[in-house]
Symmetry: C3
Subunit: 261 residues, 3 copies
């Protein structure tokens, strides 16, 4: 008899994900984040809790040296403005020169046509992964985010899609992971998607297979969310608890709770 | 025999306020916030805890579409700069075109003469409500915030004044509500006034009577503050607990604890 | 027999530090902070927990009046940009005119050569104290932060060095304090160094001897960190608990726990 949530492949994927999370702690990758004003503090704390080292400057005279010294780059389009756009252009150039992996989070492009157009342009510049929700995927592709559309987009754009929602779906066009971890309180705290994307960036810093890295990041935050919910009494304590849960997340917890296949 | 804090009118006002708070949860209004860098994260989380949906961009090319798609606008003058001023001008124009209610929080205008002058100009552009403290009211009007001055200012400016302090006073010049809820720890956490103003914006989104909407918002945050204080061991845990308390605030709690008349 | 950690001088220094911390609560100094986007909220809350009153604007038309009305200024170079640089120039000028003490935190200058050069220039403009870590001191001086180098730098620059790490060292070139309080979780929360610097600014506002003021600030945050760690289950709850611990930190706790000599 086998447990329905734990098909044999679950164990393999979860174990590979646990390796990635352990590598983040072992190597403490530097993750440079161009991210929105709402998410900056929480993002830095999530990265620290996972064992990574955040930096956040967007100054034109400094962004180049910060990115060149980093192990991965996050570009998050929340509260986007001229300064963030200039920083992004330089940062992606430097990332390309340094073969640095970078991750795109096209926050709320369903609310702003110019932002959606800019996100589409950024996709052509080679992000290793995109982390977004259903409304954002629809705004990007003018189509429903069904499995076929996700796979086709990933193949066309040569990237990995990490679509978060009740079930997270991660695909590079060939392989598909479905993650059924997480908790409803995750949608009651601001910037939860943003910090998931930052964790994807930390994982692509230490794992060349971006599909596995993205799966590992979304699995880790989902399992941490479940751990946090066990202690939380609402969204305020949940935001605190998820940092504690991610900090103590280890291989045993990840393997025991993973619902990924 | 009746309880001194619960005159008959209290029950009526509190019940009307509870209706407003329930409507925020039912309709999840979108509240676009031009607010200061210190308050952004806490403001977003307070709005989510109340059931509203925050957005925060100030980019000139995006602010119009964000405001047009919102149900209310908050203009908070903390950490004000050229970008926020440009965003505010556009946002208020769009709000006027779309008949969108907006709320002004003239943060710390007692510390900066140019900011006070700008706030006075903004008042002429039709905010549905002003949320401020005594020092800020004095800077705005060059007069003491006694009951008569508040009523006269509200009538002249055709707006609602929500003056917070040990007792909160809400007036549209005709009606006056006095709210004696809240807790001293509320003044020990940064941006507590800012998040109260954001909650006013969420309430004017769902209630056309701005006096009632403002009363509902200040009552809700005051009652949530009392609930938070029961669990908190200091200002740090209080900031967390008030999010949890607001999240679980319901009609019964509001009616049982309201000290409004 | 005497306890090894509590040499007689410890008691004297700790008592003098406790006086400074009590004076911050008694006088509620206004501390204007030019600080980075990641640290702003936490910095404001730390200052409030200590009894000080924070402000944070960087707008060119307002910074002068905010600084002129403050009791101390913090200049923190994290997420530095053109707006913060312009604000800093004005703020330091006003501080000089008003004889206002100011504190420099050269965040991450080890990651950015232009920022290191700017920090070196700022040191010539008379900060009362510098709070930094080992890597930042090395970037500033191109030398190892041994005791002799610290003392020489403090003498040459006519300032106080507050070097934080496992043991904090505070010197004005003549006197040296070593503080062995604190907890490893302090390095797992973002902006912990930034808030320590803000606390130094609050202390120089009420204590003319910058060496004592810096020692008091670093001792207070270290002892608060130990108190927080006793309740915390990870970095998330630690960030909350340190605010509570600092809020209730009093003379008795400080004297009982101080490891300073």
């Amino acid at each position: 008899m086998r447990e329905p949530d734990r098909l044999p492949s679950t164990v393999d994927i979860a174990a590979a994900c646990a390796d990635v999370i352990e590598r983040v702690r072992a190597h403490s990758p530097r993750v440079h984040c161009i991210t929105n004003a709402v998410a900056q503090n929480f993002t830095a704390n999530i990265l620290l809790a996972a064992g990574a080292r955040p930096s956040m400057t967007i100054s034109p005279e400094e962004i180049g040296s910060f990115v060149a010294g980093a192990d991965a780059l996050l570009v998050n389009l929340g509260t986007f403005d001229a300064a963030r756009r200039a920083a992004t252009d330089t940062a992606i150039e430097v990332a390309a020169e340094e073969s640095l992996p970078w991750v795109l989070d096209p926050v709320l492009i369903d609310r702003s046509q110019p932002r959606a157009a800019y996100a589409a342009e950024l996709v052509t510049r080679g992000p290793r992964a995109l982390r977004l929700n259903r409304a954002e995927f629809t705004a990007l592709t003018s189509g429903e985010p069904d499995g076929e559309a996700l796979r086709r987009y990933a193949l066309d754009a040569l990237t990995v899609i990490g679509l978060t929602g009740e079930t997270d779906v991660v695909t590079d066009g060939t392989r598909v992971a479905a993650i059924r971890n997480g908790h409803p309180l995750m949608s009651r705290v601001t910037a939860m998607g943003c910090v998931a994307s930052a964790l994807v960036a930390a994982c692509v810093a230490v794992e060349g297979d971006a599909w596995l890295a993205t799966t590992a990041a979304l699995l880790a935050i989902g399992v941490a969310g479940e751990g946090a919910a066990a202690h939380a009494r609402g969204p305020g304590s949940f935001a605190t608890e998820i940092l504690d849960a991610l900090d103590r997340l280890d291989r045993d917890v990840l393997l025991a709770r993973a619902k990924v296949q």
